[in-house]
């Protein structure tokens, strides 16, 4: 793990704006997030717009022949990735509440989310 320990700690944010299953981005962003855990960075996950659907409870894609990767969001805590943020306005627009989400998250207003994003050093969006 030597090469991963650069001594530099940056604020990383993975911004999820896309729904799961219709495209691969949600799944492959999750793979990025898991790898990032090995680098001891300050990792943040934001779920805004259709990205909120990624952490909807009860996903069951067996009939569409696609892997159900949503349980992996629950495993993030085991990788010390605990800074998950969801936007309140986006949830309301989609008729969703915190009870619909499969992981504990911090609910932020759009204004708060914008301020948080502005503090980041590296923003990865998909």
């Amino acid at each position: 793990m030597d090469e991963m320990d650069s001594g530099i700690v940056k604020k990383f944010m993975f911004v999820n704006r896309k729904a799961p299953h219709g495209t691969v981005y949600a799944l492959e962003v999750l793979e990025m997030v898991l790898i990032s855990a090995a680098f001891d960075q300050d990792v943040h996950l934001a779920f805004i717009d259709d990205g909120i659907y990624q952490i909807k409870k009860g996903q069951a894609p067996a009939e569409i022949g696609v892997k159900n990767f949503s349980p992996t969001y629950r495993a993030l805590e085991g990788y010390d990735i605990e800074k998950l943020y969801v936007e309140a306005e986006g949830m309301a627009e989609r008729g969703l509440t915190e009870d619909d989400l499969l992981v504990p998250v911090e609910v932020l207003s759009r204004a708060e989310m914008g301020k948080l994003m502005a503090e980041m050093d590296v923003v990865l969006t998909a």
Partner: protein, 119 residues
């Protein structure tokens, strides 16, 4: 009834090819005929013989191949779109064939319905 199917996107990145496959399977189960599946745009990437998706995920190319084996479905990859993107005879998965865009227009003419799946 004879269906033609057009697949516009590559595997995994978009659900389009999965949806097309599920549609084709359901049509065959109902006794319909699949006149042809045509792969255009990034859809040509469905035909790569080199893909190795994780073992716990579906293999889109293998799904198409099985459909071709079991039901003699004609899987046609557009030659021009394939050349652009590096899908050529050398890495074409068995069960697919490479041909011209005319095969799509022909499917539109000969099939009773043409159904498109894309982005």
């Amino acid at each position: 009834m004879k269906f033609g199917i057009l697949v516009n996107e590559g595997p995994y990145n978009h659900q389009a090819s999965d949806s097309a496959y599920q549609f084709a399977k359901a049509a065959l189960e109902k006794g319909h005929e699949i006149f042809r599946v045509f792969f255009y745009y990034d859809g040509v990437n469905n035909a790569t013989s080199l893909g190795q998706p994780p073992s716990d995920d579906r293999n889109v190319t293998k799904n198409w191949q099985k459909l071709a084996e079991d039901h003699k479905v004609d899987l046609v990859v557009c030659v021009a779109a394939g050349l652009r993107r590096g899908i050529v005879e050398g890495n074409l998965a068995p069960g697919f064939r490479i041909s011209g865009l005319g095969q799509l227009i022909e499917a539109g003419i000969q099939a009773d319905r043409l159904v498109t799946f894309g982005d």
